[in-house]
Amino acid sequence: MSGHFDIALFDVDRGLQERLGYDKVYSAGRDLLVSSHPAPGIPAIATGGDSGALITELRKPDVIGIAFDGAYIDKKAIEKAAEYGKPVFIFAARFTGLCGREKGAALHGLRKLFMAAHSLKARVVLVSMADSRAQLLSSAQLREIAHLISGGQDGGMMSWGGIT
């Protein structure tokens, strides 16, 4: 066991979770919600491209973090996330399937997001958010992608500590 956690959009069988090096792969939709307007009572990651809405969601106790849509980055929302001690999530499935320049541009955008979060002292967490087995990644692969995005900086991207 490595103390690593991941989130996928489907149920990953226990054997595969262990082989991939995770303590647990949470199932989005069952263990937690990923939504722009998450319902109360269930842990959730608030997503969106609107700063005001993300900041409003961050105040809710069930919201465990935020994720930006596409290449959108909002420093105010990141600042608020840092203030509330909640991480900014990056979903690896959004860029691992891209090709050539598209992938390069996506990774460049994520590096900008990481640098902005790092300067504002917000935590950044990389999860696969895979919608199928083809999008899943092992913990070693997530670690290397995190290293690539953070440029190997000290205090780079953290592994997710799971739902507490």
């Binding site: 991939l20 090096g21 691992t96 399937g97 992938k103 087995r133 083809a134 692969q141 997530l142 290397e144």
Partner: protein
């Protein structure tokens, strides 16, 4: 002084069964890795499948120092020979033997003798 050439070995699981002993599959896999690593990176790393012990798990040998590049490359591979296949790096080691021991625990297969030298 002669410096010994050292390798690292990666235990890799595919999301779908693939037969790396099939030359066309092995070639497609090499091409996919090469596309992600770039020609120079591929030459430096010199990755090669050295052992397949079940339908969807195999061991790749890589020059020491380039294993992290290979882990990253495998993360971005989603397609091999027109089939949607993902590769997960399960473990890394300096010897095939220890990876086979890991595989024996993870996949419940009987411990095998060392693979054929290639």
């Amino acid at each position: 002084m002669i410096v010994r050439h050292k390798n690292r070995y990666l235990l890799v699981e595919a999301s779908e069964p693939i037969n790396t002993k099939d030359a066309s599959i092995a070639s497609a896999l090499s091409e996919s890795i090469g596309a992600e690593m770039g020609h120079i990176g591929y030459i430096r790393a010199n990755p090669k499948v050295v052992h397949q012990f079940c339908d969807n798990a195999f061991i790749i040998r890589v020059n020491r120092g380039y294993e992290r590049d290979l882990i990253l490359a495998t993360a971005f591979i989603k397609n091999i020979k027109g089939r949607q296949v993902a590769l997960y790096t399960i473990s890394t080691s300096g010897t095939v033997r220890s990876l086979l021991e890991t595989a024996a625990k993870l996949y419940g297969i009987a411990k095998r003798t060392s693979p054929q030298k290639s």
